[in-house]
Symmetry: C2
Subunit: 340 residues, 2 copies
């Protein structure tokens, strides 16, 4: 049994398609008797208006595409959650796609979505700093400014659109300042975000905090780890060569791993080494000791993206200048750092 259409019902009742359509919509133009018959039949046979046909007619799908790098990362899950909430409230559904940290997959996904299937796009691109220029061209090429786009997290001035970003400089500063203020002198940074603007900004913030207290910046304390690198090995090396008393890890899972390594090597956290992570997920709360972290307010970022996008979709005729919203971070102090 396939889907019931107006046409089939029209044939069944020997009336025209438009009559059936009107009957279904309870139009005053149709006699009560016919309406009743048709509506009853429609209900009994589970008639559903074909949304694809309506989308074509209305040149709108009431859905938005979301492309994120990774769904196993709590930050993105929170963003998605925020988007979903606002989108649903405002009558949109979301099509979510995972680029899995692959530029190629991201492009394929964008290509897929940019063909009338969605009214707008929310994207956290996975480019690194060296790829920005080329990739920005690619995205512009792809979308041709035909469809509203909101960029979040990893953004670039090369693409002209609405953006939602975290104040990563301030976040890095806040975290490092807290470590310095609680007595740390030699602070290492562990970043899983090689060559990204976000990582760089957080490190700039860290430098500022050091400078304010006249602590020297030592770039051998910056440990950049790739997907295949052995964190334990690399971290141990630094731990052996310097007297580290603080570590800033640029995402949640890295922070947890760093803490686990430090503990297993006999350091007391936070007394020997204080640790600060990023992203307020479930992990940091339940790990022992509970992790002090910088929260980026993922859900709020998602809500902001969705509102920005839907506003633009619904005001396509009266376009406003593009906005970049900066969401502030908060330091959530728990037990992996010393008290102030």
């Amino acid at each position: 049994m396939s889907k019931l259409t107006l046409k089939e019902m029209a044939a069944h009742f020997k009336v025209s398609v438009s009559t059936v359509s009107k009957a279904i919509h309870d139009s005053y133009e149709i006699s009560e008797e016919l309406k009743a018959k048709i509506q009853k039949f429609a209900k009994e046979n589970h008639y559903r208006p074909n949304k694809v046909a309506l989308n074509l007619l209305n040149r709108s799908t009431k859905s938005i595409g979301v492309v994120i790098p990774n769904i196993l990362n709590y930050f993105f899950v929170q963003v998605l959650f925020g988007i979903e909430k606002v989108a649903n409230d405002r009558g949109y559904s979301i099509i979510s796609c995972i680029s899995n940290h692959s530029l190629e997959k991201e492009v394929i996904t964008l290509e897929l979505l940019n063909s009338g299937s969605v009214d707008g796009l929310i994207l956290s691109s996975v480019f690194t700093e060296s790829q920005i220029e080329k990739h920005a061209e690619h995205i512009k090429e792809l979308l041709g400014e035909q469809i509203p786009l909101v960029l979040f997290d990893r953004v670039t001035e090369l693409i002209d659109c609405d953006k939602v970003i975290v104040d990563d400089f301030e976040a890095g500063y806040k975290a490092a300042k807290y470590l310095v203020d609680t007595g740390c002198k030699t602070i290492a940074v562990v970043t899983p975000m090689k060559n990204t603007q976000i990582g760089r900004l957080r490190i700039e913030g860290y430098k500022k905090a050091l400078k304010e207290r006249d602590l020297p910046f030592d770039d051998t304390l910056i440990l950049s780890i790739g997907k295949k690198d052995d964190l334990e090995f690399l971290l141990s090396f630094i731990l052996n060569s310097k007297k580290i008393d603080g570590i800033m890890a640029l995402d949640e899972i890295t922070a947890v791993k760093v803490m686990s390594i430090a503990k297993s090597r006999g350091y007391h956290v936070p007394n020997d080494i204080a640790i600060i992570g990023f992203t307020n997920g479930q992990l940091s709360k339940y790990v022992t000791p509970a992790l002090t972290i910088v929260s980026q307010h993922g859900a709020y970022i998602g809500e902001t993206c969705a509102n920005l996008l839907i506003d633009r979709i619904e005001n396509k005729n009266a376009p406003k200048p593009f906005e970049t919203k900066v969401v502030k971070t908060s330091l959530i102090v728990r037990d992996s750092t010393k008290k102030q």
Copy 2:
């Protein structure tokens, strides 16, 4: 600048729409010269065929809807991951919706998806055992067997479709048996899944394990917690009244919380109280001590669902009888239980 259509290009080149369509598809019918001109123009102006129109024409959207209760639960994230992987490999995209544990939202979502926007549906329904009958009717009513459906995790015989389930009875048995085998005599169960078949099956498995060793079943040891209940308060009560030496918690986050409460009350895990959780997420690995858990192989479940669904979508004409696939669980032994 809006989306470029064939019609517009036809007007621009003063040819017919069908000519442009053929040119775009590089048809042998069109002169090389015209093809080159049109293709160049299309490329420069970022022409994308309108997918909605194609979907209407093909009566297929090459996308599948996924409805899950919660995206902040690692099990579902893993399932989604598995679905996404297979779907993409087989040329489908996924529309994911979160029912947020609300039956009402689930119904609205199904309604939304069942209107031509997707070719098939994967659903983990949120009904409790008392709601099954009514809700099954509702779902059948809604979908009217017009669209392929795969149910996973929480299923019911009342709906005739493909299903993927976990052997929850065996999972409960395995977990309890391990506790018993490592010396536990008084094992409490903490379940956040009030009145679900899954919870009940796991508890049946637990009973079987007790029985095999002639341990008595005591239903005051079963602690069912609702969303608003104070786990710490309720658990403390049981801990005070009985000499508990093992706890089985039916999801990951509950297991972590239970362990945290036990530790804070001075129990040593696993020596005083051994703990087993369910769902192999990030939490259980990094918590101290690392949690012994029952893995449901979420990603594999997702892959199985997607394959089952797409097979059915693509063989609508030659329907096979419905299948129910049972995915076995594995016990992953870590440090929250004693060694065997």
